[in-house]
C-alpha cells in the first residue's frame, strides 16, 4: 500500500492589519463625535421635537413636562390626554397645576432647609413639533401660575456648534 504523501502546509496567518486600520478610523470618528458631557436630557417616545439652530446645551433639568401626540406627562406621570387639553376652555390645566404647585412648594421647602441652593423654578417642556400653539400656551400659563417662570423648550440641535 502506497503511503499517502502528506504535504506539510505552512500555517496560514490571518492578515488583519487592514481590519485594524478600519477599527482605528471608526474609533477616531466615534471619539470625535461623542460628547463628554453625557446626556442630561432624553427625548420622549412618540414625539418629534422641532429642530433649532440657536439652541443651547441643557445644563440642569429638574422638572420635565412632555406633551406628545397622545398624552400630557409631568415627570413620567401621565396626567391627561393632549386631546382633552385642546378641548378645554380654561387656560389653566387643573391636574398639571396641582402637581406643579406641589412640586414648587417642595422645591421652596428644600431651599429653606438648605438642601438646594436656589429654588429657580426651572422647567423643560417637550412638545411634539406638530402640537397646536393652543396647548403650548395652556401649559406655559399653568407653569407660570404654579411659579415655574423659567421655561425652556426642548429641541433637536440642527448642527453642533464648534
Amino acid at each position: 500500500m502506497a503511503h499517502r504523501k502528506i504535504k506539510r502546509q505552512e500555517e496560514a496567518g490571518l492578515i488583519i492589519t487592514s481590519l485594524i486600520d478600519v477599527f482605528v478610523i471608526v474609533l477616531t470618528f466615534l471619539m470625535r463625535t461623542i460628547s463628554a458631557e453625557g446626556n442630561l436630557m432624553t427625548s420622549a417616545d412618540n414625539l418629534v421635537l422641532p429642530m433649532s439652530q440657536r439652541s443651547k446645551s441643557p445644563t440642569e433639568v429638574s422638572l420635565t413636562i412632555i406633551a406628545d401626540q397622545k398624552n400630557l406627562t409631568v415627570d413620567d406621570k401621565v396626567l391627561m390626554t393632549t386631546e382633552s387639553v385642546r378641548k378645554q376652555d380654561s387656560l389653566l390645566i387643573k391636574p398639571v397645576l396641582d402637581v406643579l404647585t406641589k412640586k414648587r412648594d417642595e422645591e421652596k421647602h428644600a431651599e429653606m432647609m438648605g438642601l438646594i441652593k436656589e429654588a429657580t423654578g426651572k422647567v423643560v417642556v417637550q412638545f411634539d413639533k406638530n402640537t397646536p400653539y393652543d396647548i403650548v400656551t395652556k401649559v406655559m400659563a399653568t407653569c407660570g401660575y404654579a411659579g415655574y417662570n423659567n421655561i425652556k423648550f426642548a429641541v433637536t440641535k440642527k448642527n453642533e456648534e464648534g
Binding site: 488583519i16 485594524i20 461623542i34 441643557p58 403650548v136 407660570g144 429641541v155
Partner: protein, 270 residues
C-alpha cells in the same frame, strides 16, 4: 577561522489578535455611549409682571420703547413696532408628509380645511404625520395675487446668501463675490469649494423675516439713548398655529440679534 553561526530567523508576523479584541470592545462601548440625536434647549423670556397696583392709573405707553412684535397667521407674518407695521411677509405653506402605514414621503401645498390623503393607499393623513413644514416666501402685488416664489442661493446649512447691500443672491455668487448670511456679520468671499455645495432654492419666509428683523435691530442699536427693549421681541400667534412655526420664528428672531423672545397668544397674554 571559526565561522559565526548565523541563526536563521523566520519572518514572524506581529500577533495583532489581542489588539483586535481591544478595539472591538472599545468600539462597542463607544457606540453604546454615543447619542446620535443632540438635544438642546431654547430659552424663553417671560416679561415681569407689572408691579403697578390696579387702582393706580397706568402710565402711558413709553415712547422710547420699541415694542417689537412678530405676528404669525396662516397667511403671512407681520412685523410691528411702536412706529407702526411693516408690510406683511406672505408665505405659501408646503408640507412634507410621511405616511405611517407605508412610510411613503410626499409633499403637498397646505390648504386650510383640506383633507390630505396618501397617494399610495388613500389614507387620510393625521396632523402628526407632517414631517417638515416649509414656509416658502412669496411676493404679492395685491391680495388677489396668488404670489410668486422668490428663489435664493443657499449654502450647505440652508442659509440664504446675500450681498453686502443686503439683497438675496438669485444665483450662486461668482467666485470672489462677497456674501454673508443673516446672523453672521462676517463677509465671506465665495470660493469654488463653497460654491459647489450651494444651490438655488425657494426662499424661506423665516429667512426674509430674519433679514428684516436684523435691519430693525441694527437701526435700534444705533439709537441714543438705547431703548431698554432693544433685544426684546414678542411672537404673537393664533391658537391653531403649529408649535414648529413658533420655534422656527424664535430661531429667526435670535439669529437677527433679538435674544429675549417672549410668546403671546392673539387675544391674550401668556
Amino acid at each position: 577561522m571559526k565561522k559565526a553561526r548565523t541563526k536563521k530567523h523566520r519572518n514572524k508576523e506581529l500577533d495583532l489578535i489581542p489588539v483586535m479584541n481591544l478595539f472591538s470592545i472599545l468600539v462597542t462601548t463607544v457606540i453604546s455611549m454615543s447619542t446620535f440625536e443632540k438635544l438642546g434647549v431654547l430659552e424663553l423670556w417671560l416679561p415681569e409682571r407689572s408691579t403697578t397696583p390696579q387702582d393706580q392709573p397706568q402710565k402711558d405707553i413709553d415712547e422710547g420703547l420699541l415694542n417689537l412684535t412678530v405676528v404669525i397667521t396662516d397667511k403671512g407674518i407681520t412685523i410691528g413696532a411702536a412706529g407702526g407695521f411693516q408690510p406683511s411677509i406672505y408665505y405659501q405653506e408646503e408640507v412634507e408628509y410621511r405616511s405611517r402605514s407605508d412610510q411613503h414621503v410626499f409633499r403637498k401645498v397646505w390648504v386650510k380645511g383640506e383633507e390630505v390623503k396618501s397617494p399610495t393607499d388613500g389614507k387620510v393623513m393625521s396632523p402628526y404625520e407632517r414631517e417638515t413644514i416649509m414656509l416658502n416666501f412669496v411676493t404679492k402685488k395685491d391680495s388677489a395675487d396668488p404670489g410668486t416664489y422668490v428663489y435664493a442661493a443657499q449654502n450647505i446649512e440652508g442659509n440664504a446668501l446675500m450681498d453686502t447691500a443686503g439683497n438675496w443672491y438669485a444665483t450662486v455668487p461668482a467666485n470672489g463675490a462677497l456674501y454673508r448670511t443673516v446672523g453672521d456679520e462676517t463677509v465671506h468671499k465665495m470660493d469654488p469649494r463653497t460654491a459647489a455645495f450651494c444651490k438655488v432654492e425657494k426662499l424661506s419666509a423665516y429667512q426674509e423675516v430674519a433679514k428684516t428683523l436684523e435691519k430693525i435691530h441694527m437701526l435700534y442699536s444705533q439709537r441714543d439713548p438705547l431703548p431698554p427693549d432693544v433685544d426684546d421681541v414678542v411672537i404673537l400667534a393664533d391658537e391653531d398655529v403649529i408649535y414648529d412655526k413658533v420655534i422656527q420664528m424664535m430661531d429667526a428672531c435670535k439669529s437677527a440679534g433679538f435674544d429675549r423672545v417672549a410668546l403671546s397668544l392673539i387675544g391674550g397674554e401668556v
